[in-house]
Symmetry: C2
Subunit: 209 residues, 2 copies
DNA sequence: TCCCCTGTTGAACTTTTGTTCTAATAACAG
DNA sequence: CTGTTATTAGAACAAAAGTTCAACAGGGGA
């Protein structure tokens, strides 16, 4: 139930923020919306705030926050390295986590990381993961962990075979079953002490072309 | 080659913007970094600008733009529907593009949409696309188009079979070859007039758990 | 018609905030 | 040690920007 003037102000706010990275002043709005007086803008801004479209910081210059485009936080995820059969994954340990100096980073929305803490990304090199529907060139988003629940897709380092793969994890009586995603392929069995969990897959991203 | 004070200012700027949605004033920085005078902040801000870390609007309150987290634009992508074998894809035509009233949307960084114009997303329902390394529950990011280059992964509607699938597109003499991603599976051949291109896959996103 | 409500004006007022200046101090190279 | 440059201090100034106010216009509804 917004007046035309209020819609126009809201629209101006959005366009201004698209462009500038800091909010406009009341007088910017006066000019931008062809309004005659700052008090009119103030009047309408108060209504917009009451209706929950914006938030205003009292006595704060440019203190307008748009509730819309507001809380879309981005997470900067380090691309730690590549994963390929036969190579260990260079996953940081819990201690060295904070000083990862990674060349590449990836900006992702929280919809993908879903608030997880220690998230990193791996470049998949080679086709050795096709059985997990993961292809050469894909990016896997990982959450750092060294434990896993049954059924989770995890990155493991098999000490004996000197091989890293992505498999579903199942703990059985006295061994661990690593199940390819492709049900036609046979599972791999390993002793617990031979399996080193490097992280849990939380998402897969594939860019085409 | 930033001084410790400059690092701290930069860090404060980032934290402030994480929190507030509008940049801090010079005096906010004074307080936030335990600096004694506004002129010191001004002095260091000028250095930070000269070195390209920030941009300042002259005489503009809170006119500090962080070059870092700056240009990470988000794109709001409509999730138009689900794709499954046997169902048509409800892709909007070029005319109806602008009034898509989609229930769900997806916020993505430009790294994923890469500046493409008319991008939409589809929920993959069913396992009929596993041969293209696309699983039940995946999200495919599509660019609207009705033409395709050889080798591109596209969504097609096969009028005759009344079936939608994702396949690689190859134009041959007088027919079209639709090649599954899985090389072990046989291609499908179709007459050009039987093939309706619904869009081009630009990315695949899979969330685990 | 006369109120009451919403919206508008234009100006004035007060804070906030960027900027500037001078002097003092620290850091540093020769 | 000495001149030179980088940095800091504190204050003061001027512009920018939020806020307030009294008065006014229009539009219903009683």
């Amino acid at each position: 139930m917004l007046s035309q003037k209020q819609e126009r102000i809201l629209d101006f706010l959005r366009r201004f923020l698209d462009d500038k990275d800091y909010p406009p002043t009341v007088r910017d709005i006066v000019r931008g919306c062809g309004i005659s007086s700052t008090s009119v803008v103030d009047y309408n801004l108060n209504i917009l705030e009451r209706k929950g479209h914006i938030r205003r910081g009292r006595d704060i210059s440019r203190g307008i926050e748009l509730m819309d485009r507001n809380r879309r936080r981005l997470v900067r995820v380090p691309v730690i390295g590549r994963i390929a059969a036969g190579e260990p994954i260079p996953v940081p340990s819990a201690e060295t986590w904070n000083n990862v100096a990674s060349a590449e980073t990836l900006d992702l929305t929280e919809g993908l990381t879903r608030g997880k803490g220690e998230v990193y990304a791996l470049w998949v090199k080679g086709t050795s993961m096709v059985d997990a529907l993961i292809n050469d060139g894909d990016i896997v988003l990982m959450e750092y962990t060294n434990t896993a629940e049954n059924g989770e897709l995890i990155a493991v380092w098999l000490k004996g075979k000197r091989e890293a793969t992505l498999k579903r994890f199942y703990r059985e009586r006295d061994r661990i079953r690593l199940q390819p995603a492709n049900i036609e392929m046979k599972p791999v069995y390993a002793e617990p002490e031979n399996v080193e969990i490097q992280g849990k897959v939380i998402a897969v991203i594939r860019k085409l072309e």
